[in-house]
């Protein structure tokens, strides 16, 4: 009220008096007319505060108009209006107090108030308190989001005020959380801040860590003499211990301009070059200056002559280091708060580590299922039949391209994937049967030749794909419902595609077990692989069985191709990216045993993720070490994890 009276008193001085009773907003604006028109971020504060804290119902409207550059000044009487362009140079004016039409004006008669971006941001902050209690939940949410992004002490009070009246439970939860975070950073007392920190200490949210980390941010500083009292530091640093070397200490002193910088080699060279006189510099012939020791001697000579600053001797350095004390000083003055924050961060980091391990496990599981998918077709053709098919990777690629082509014809992603899977199976099944009939059949029991011939096929298929589809990556888009991720907390999350691939891998495992153990074909396949002649004499047609089995193995590779294509880019090299790992999976797991393939995929997946975790910047290195590891692993279990023993294993 006092402010209003003051404003009223001041109004008397204005040429065109505005009554504070009749037009409180206009009066308020007139009060601050000078700084509003001055339009400077430095001085504008009181004007915004005045409007924001005026408790007038129109305050929000005014601030919004101001922020949106819709506030104009009528030059004739100096009154502020909200103005909208009607046509050409004519503007429609609206009175802030009444919200009524205040006539029109020509542009020439008006002056637009154009707040700069700094001022608009200040207005935005002031607006938050209104928006937090806005009847529209969308605007409340938007206000919260902007506040979460740009936290400031000023918003704490309006935020607290708006919590109780909040009806929406989600928004209320967000408000309470934000209130805690703001209190941690800007709370009125240390006690309140510590309490807030402790209340959030078990929380894994990134926002909590983002709030805590600035609190414990510290700067390494040196002090002349001993450490002064009342400095909130993480403890004194002793040069020469705990990773803080004398060199570090001296560099710090130089940085803080507490000691002269050591003359660098480049500076010495420069100085010598500038002081050459008569093929000599510092008394040393220039030709001899390729010797570092001679250079130093020459420089010292120059320094004695006062031509250049002298070098800092080790004794001087040691003295300078000894004359100072060092500490990591918190920018936060309260030790109570920093201790609590450190404590909370420690607790959080433990929980984060646990969650990260869980997340890594999920990642590894998903990688393992990808390897398993890529390798399961091989487990049939290579593991069960003993046929080494180097074009297996190209079958995976074929499956992925089939998916791409289907998607070109059927635009609906869900439907196209449903169609693509059997299509990919059909295409690669046919390709597999053709390969078996035309090439592999003639090469049974000659594995090296099979390997070479299928290499030939692999080269040809890759180039063929390049000729048809070009070299650029083709997209295979997953259906919308596979977008997004399953989020457990801020650390643990896994995308739905990866879950789908995991499920698909499980389905394949089931299908494989069913075919091999429960169907006639499986029985016949095992019979033919174990003893072809005996099987033939019992009325099994080995040619047909081999053909079908190889076809199924290839077909599964095709389906795997669709799955892999969903998250990897589809190129002609897609297959060759997986072929070595697939073979490794089968070999490491133990040939001829699906559980071995599963174990192999799991081992390779977990191992690779493990290395990536140790050295996250470098996936190439992870793959390198993984292969080296596999080579070593085969030393200890030459027949793989799940090995067939005894004479059945053969030699």
């Amino acid at each position: 009220m006092l402010r209003l009276i003051m404003a009223g008193l001041m109004l008397l001085a204005l040429p065109f008096a505005v009554s504070a009773q009749e037009a409180p907003v206009q009066a308020l604006l007139q009060d601050h007319a000078e700084i509003i028109t001055k339009n400077s971020r430095k001085t504008i504060g009181p004007a915004i505060d005045a409007v924001a804290t005026s408790a007038l119902p129109q305050a929000q409207e005014v601030l919004q108009a101001w922020q949106a550059k819709e506030m104009w000044l009528r030059k004739s009487d100096g009154l502020f209006f909200k103005a909208e362009k009607l046509d050409g140079k004519t503007y429609q004016l609206t009175d802030f107090d009444t919200g009524l039409d205040a006539g029109t004006a020509q542009k020439a008669d008006l002056k637009q108030i154009k707040p700069n971006s700094g001022i608009r941001a200040l207005i935005g902050t002031a607006l938050v308190q209104f928006q937090l209690s806005d009847p529209d939940p969308v605007r409340r949410s938007a206000a919260l989001t902007s506040l979460e992004r740009d936290r400031n002490a000023a918003s704490l009070t309006p935020l607290r005020a708006s919590i109780d009246s909040e009806a929406d439970p989600d928004l209320k939860a967000r408000k309470i959380r934000l209130e805690r975070l703001l209190t941690m950073a800007f709370g009125e007392s240390d006690t309140a801040r510590v309490a807030a920190i402790q209340s959030m200490s078990g929380d894994l949210g990134v926002d909590v860590r983002a709030t805590l980390n600035p609190i414990v941010a510290s700067t390494r500083t040196a002090f002349a003499g001993t450490l002064p009292d009342g400095v909130n530091s993480a403890g004194a640093l002793i040069p020469g211990s705990g990773g803080f070397t004398d060199a570090d200490a001296y560099a710090l002193l130089v940085d803080l301009k507490l000691a002269p910088a050591q003359v660098s080699a480049a500076e010495i060279r420069e100085a010598l070059a500038q002081n050459i006189s008569g093929a000599r510099s510092g008394g040393v012939p220039v030709a001899q200056l390729s010797d570092p020791a001679r250079r130093l001697a020459a420089y010292d000579t120059l320094a004695e002559g006062g031509l250049v600053p002298p070098r800092v001797t080790p004794q001087q350095q040691a003295a300078a280091i000894a004359a100072h004390s060092y500490a990591d000083v918190y920018s936060e003055p309260s030790a109570q708060v920093t201790d609590a924050a450190q404590q909370a961060l420690k607790g959080i980091s433990t929980r984060v580590a646990v969650s990260q391990a869980a997340d890594l496990t999920l990642d590894a599981l998903s990688l393992a299922s990808i390897y398993f998918l890529a390798a399961i077709g091989l487990a049939i053709t290579f593991g069960v039949m003993g046929v080494i098919n180097m074009a297996h990777g190209e079958f995976i690629m074929m499956g992925a391209y089939t998916g791409y082509v289907v998607q070109q014809i059927i635009p609906n992603h869900t439907l196209s994937i449903i169609v693509a899977i059997p299509m990919a199976f059909a295409v690669t099944f046919a390709a597999g049967v053709a390969l078996e009939r035309l090439v592999i059949r003639w090469l049974y029991n000659r594995p090296l030749e099979t390997l070479l011939a299928t290499f030939g096929i692999s080269i040809a298929l890759q180039q063929l794909a390049k000729n048809i589809f070009g070299t650029q990556a083709r997209p295979l888009t997953s259906p919308g419902w596979l977008d997004g991720a399953w989020v457990v907390n801020d650390v643990i999350s896994i995308s739905y595609i990866r879950i789908a691939i995991f499920v698909l891998a499980l389905i394949f495992l089931g299908v494989f077990l069913f075919i091999m153990n429960r169907t006639r074909l499986g029985l016949e396949t095992r019979a033919v692989t174990q003893n072809r002649r005996m099987a033939a004499s019992m009325g099994i047609n080995p040619d047909k069985v081999n053909m079908l089995t190889f076809g199924i193995g290839s077909g599964i590779a095709g389906i795997a191709g669709v799955a892999i294509g969903l998250f990897a880019k589809v190129t002609s090299e897609l297959g060759s990216d997986y072929i070595v790992q697939s073979f490794m999976t089968v070999v490491v797991g133990g040939v001829g045993n699906i559980w071995g393939t599963l174990a192999g995929a799991a081992m390779i997946g977990f191992f690779q993720k493990g290395i990536e975790w140790l050295n996250p910047s470098n996936t190439l290195a992870a793959q390198t070490y993984m292969i080296v590891f596999i080579i070593l692993f085969i030393q200890f279990r030459p027949r793989g994890i799940v090995a067939l023993k005894g004479r059945a294993a053969g030699d």
Partner: protein, 246 residues
């Protein structure tokens, strides 16, 4: 009689199946021994263990006067110690001539560098000639061994075995697929060899074993069922039971 090879308490199982069960066996320095037994009695596995191809789960295999253990030695090392082996199926290097096959088997240094700079001496060639005569292949020296008949391949393999000058010969079914005349010749070669070294013959054919005229060991389910002269073991009721009775 001093013992050349002593196998004691050897057992091995494959996936729960006991292929060899507490087997004990010994053979002297210049002795012929025939091992008979039904299929699956562990004859081949026994040879695999002696030659180092398979490692037993337990037991000892002791070799020579010094009582050296053969367990843990590589196949090549055991072969160099003086144990030669002939496989059931004739395995000669078909792509190479008979002479090359024999030269390769001839007792000489086996290291890669001595082999690289090896040039056959007159004595070596003479020895090859002599061996070829023994096995009746002296006319075929320059031929590729792949061109030989089945019986000739068997002999070539025996010849290679002799060329190694082993102290113990392990011969797996040497007479399989041979004509009666060829069998007789094979018998003669083996009997001659047994005068200077130990020979163990694994054979199914009783007639062939009878002609060898030596001690017989009967294996059954991985252990020794009976041992003695052929007449002695064929009268043993257990042997009749497992071998003939089925």
């Amino acid at each position: 009689m001093n013992t050349l090879l002593e196998v004691s308490g050897v057992s091995i199982s494959f996936d729960g199946f006991k292929a060899i069960n507490n087997l004990t066996f010994a053979i002297g320095a210049a002795e012929m021994r025939a091992i008979i037994g039904p299929n699956g009695a562990g004859k081949t596995t026994f040879m695999d263990i002696v030659t180092g191809k398979t490692k037993p789960d337990e037991g000892r295999v002791i070799w020579g006067e010094k009582g050296q253990s053969l367990l843990g030695l590589s196949e090549a090392r055991i072969a160099r110690e003086g144990i030669g082996r002939k496989f059931q199926k004739p395995t000669v290097f078909e792509d190479q001539s008979v002479q090359d096959n024999l030269l390769m088997a001839l007792k000489n240094k086996r290291g890669p560098f001595s082999v690289l700079f090896y040039r056959p001496s007159a004595a070596d060639l003479e020895r090859v000639e002599e061996l070829a005569t023994t096995i009746g292949l002296n006319e075929q020296l320059a031929r590729k061994s792949g061109e030989l008949s089945h019986g000739q391949k068997q002999w070539l393999e025996i010849g290679m075995l002799l060329a190694q000058e082993p102290r113990l010969l392990l011969v797996d079914e040497p007479a399989a697929g041979m004509t009666p005349q060829e069998r007789e010749h094979t018998t003669a070669i083996l009997v001659e060899a047994a005068k200077t070294r130990a020979v163990v013959v694994v054979e199914h054919d009783m007639e062939f074993v009878r002609r060898l005229d030596c001690r017989v060991t009967v294996l059954h389910e991985g252990s020794v069922l009976a041992e003695g002269s052929l007449d002695h073991v064929t009268k043993n009721p257990d042997v009749i039971d497992v071998y003939l009775g089925r």
